[in-house]
Symmetry: C2
Subunit: 342 residues, 2 copies
DNA sequence: TTGTATGCGTTATCAC
DNA sequence: GTGATAACGCATACAA
């Protein structure tokens, strides 16, 4: 079945020269006669030669490959980031190996090992919600592999990072709610082992504080980061003696969608009786009725930023590696679900 | 910067044995003493040894890597297929290299070459809308690499294929419209160099034929496969002296969304005055008002099927390769946008 | 059960 | 400019 592929030796043999010359020609070296170079190139094309990147990389000790680990490939935010990375790396001849951790630390560790085995030059990761320690990430650094964290990052780990300014975004979101006249604002929180969710809470508290609103504990709900959990939380919240007049689903738009559906089913008028605010600017937030106010994270741009950061770092690899963090400012997208005043 | 990694020689040296024994132990061969095997494994862990997959693959002449080429990574359908493939291949220790063609044949060719260079064992591809010939795909086969096409396939190319039964799905969709009493059904077509769109047209015609409805040329619109193009087409269609009473956006839900927005803006009542039917069951189709009737393609399952097909084929690689096509039956999801009768 | 020798395809370092 | 040769790290046929 498997046909034997053309190698540089095949080309050399045919032209009665040595593999070294062929290699040089193929790598566009100057130390080869222009005529023979052309001849070699022509013959290579005729024989349908393709360089064996495995061998080349083995020899050169680098792979021109970047490994990416995300919780889920088919989640809008992540697939957008990947698309952004692909855009920026492809033109430089890099390949991408994609892994999904499925939010499990166990699988995340396996992914890391696979990528180390593959000799990738760089690992780009957004850690799984399940990850509590990070020996495996230290291991990456021990192997001399560049590590870049994005979005869900572990702060203590000194690596390159590309993040969203979650605190600021959250602060602006809640401020917006308050300015719209909402006073009892509930917060749907995500797993607090992820910094991004902690930061969003901080922003929430800061906004309440700025406007001298009290923090009401029963309005702060743990781990409501799927549509179902968002719905469930809303059922409870809206059944309180004093229900909230706004819900900030700081975890995701899916959660916000759950809120919207339950609220509508329970007869609450959105936005007048209840304001709803999501996170991520998923495509559907524009389409619900009412449309959902949310926060755009510039995900594709984030991917490009990750790639650029890597390349910049590579250029200066002679100098010491300085931990560098790029923070992207998300944007509040105001839609109907929080627009009380007309 | 780059630290030297532990190799099997380092382990061998430390234990005063040879690299071959280490290799055997690491590959769990039986031809190695159980005690030394344990010792080797322990030492490998201590030295933080990671196998160099590049070298291993070079030696073995296979890469345990599957290359995937899709038009766009961050398009729901494709990212779902990729997730499905990832699911099924990961447990078998395969890696995925992802490329996006951006709907350009030129980039598609580059992707193919990259993957061949990478010595991938298999290339999974859904061809770009722009692709008119397929020398580059023949080239894949010439290199003894397994080729699997999915969704957007080139029929003449004898490879493994996983497709949707587009014709049947389209037939059922249009039949449904007719049964709902729609009589002037417009069709938004996709690029006809892609078979999937041809098939959907065939299904459309077959349904009209079955119910003895005339084919009205002015209701068949070319290349309306984005939201914008769908909107544009709708503006024209609804301005006709005799506008359609239903529009089948056979290209995508995005196109259907464009239809819905324009129709609503022009004051057409959906579904009573105008039925709308999309394709792909994007998440948002459930959320628009009215919700959009569409066709589910079981994308994640499709990915798994691709992977399974590959593994089955590998098991029988001794026998001759027989072109095999798996057709997945899509499912019509009936929602409000076409539900006239209550 | 273990060691020896060789090759996978490429590139880098010599010497000519 | 070109050729010979070694080396990247691993796996395996063969010998012991």
């Amino acid at each position: 079945m498997k046909k034997k592929r053309t190698t540089i030796y095949d080309i050399a043999e045919k032209l009665n020269i040595t593999a070294s010359s062929v290699s040089r020609a193929l790598n566009n070296s100057n130390y080869v006669n222009e005529n023979t170079k052309q001849l070699i190139l022509k013959t290579a094309a005729e024989l349908n030669y393709k360089r064996n990147t495995l061998a080349s990389n083995l020899r050169k000790g680098q792979s021109k490959t970047i490994g990416i680990i995300v919780p889920r490939i088919n989640q809008n935010f992540f697939s957008n980031v990947i698309a952004g990375i692909e855009d920026a790396t492809y033109e430089k001849g890099y390949n991408l190996i994609i892994c999904q951790s499925n939010e499990s630390q166990e699988k995340e560790i396996k992914c890391v090992n696979t990528l180390i085995n593959q000799q990738v030059d760089c690992i780009v990761i957004s850690i799984s919600a399940d990850s509590s320690d990070y020996k495996h990430l230290k291991n990456v650094l021990d192997h001399g592999i560049q590590l870049i964290q994005f979005d869900r990052v572990i702060d203590e780990l000194e690596t390159l990072k590309v993040i969203n300014d979650n605190e600021q975004a959250s602060f602006e979101a809640v401020s917006h709610l308050i300015e719209q006249g909402y006073k009892r604002i509930a917060l749907l929180k995500g797993p607090q082992n992820l910094d991004i969710f902690k930061q969003r809470k901080v922003g929430y508290l800061a906004a309440l504080n700025k406007y001298s609103l009290p923090v009401i504990d029963e309005l702060i709900i743990e781990n409501a980061w799927t549509k179902e959990l968002g719905a469930e939380a809303t059922r409870k919240l809206l059944s309180l003696p004093e229900p909230p007049d706004a819900i900030f689903a700081s975890t995701s738009d899916f959660s916000a969608l759950g809120v919207l559906e339950v609220a509508t089913a329970m007869g609450f008028k959105v936005p007048n009786q209840l304001g709803i605010l999501g996170y991520a600017n998923e495509a559907f937030t524009e389409l619900t009725s009412p449309s959902i106010t949310t926060i755009d994270q510039f995900s594709v741009y984030m991917g490009r930023t990750v790639a650029d950061l890597y390349f910049k770092e590579m250029e200066n690899k002679d100098t010491l590696v300085v931990p560098k963090t790029i923070s992207i400012k998300p944007k509040l997208i105001i839609r109907s679900s929080t627009s009380r005043k007309k």
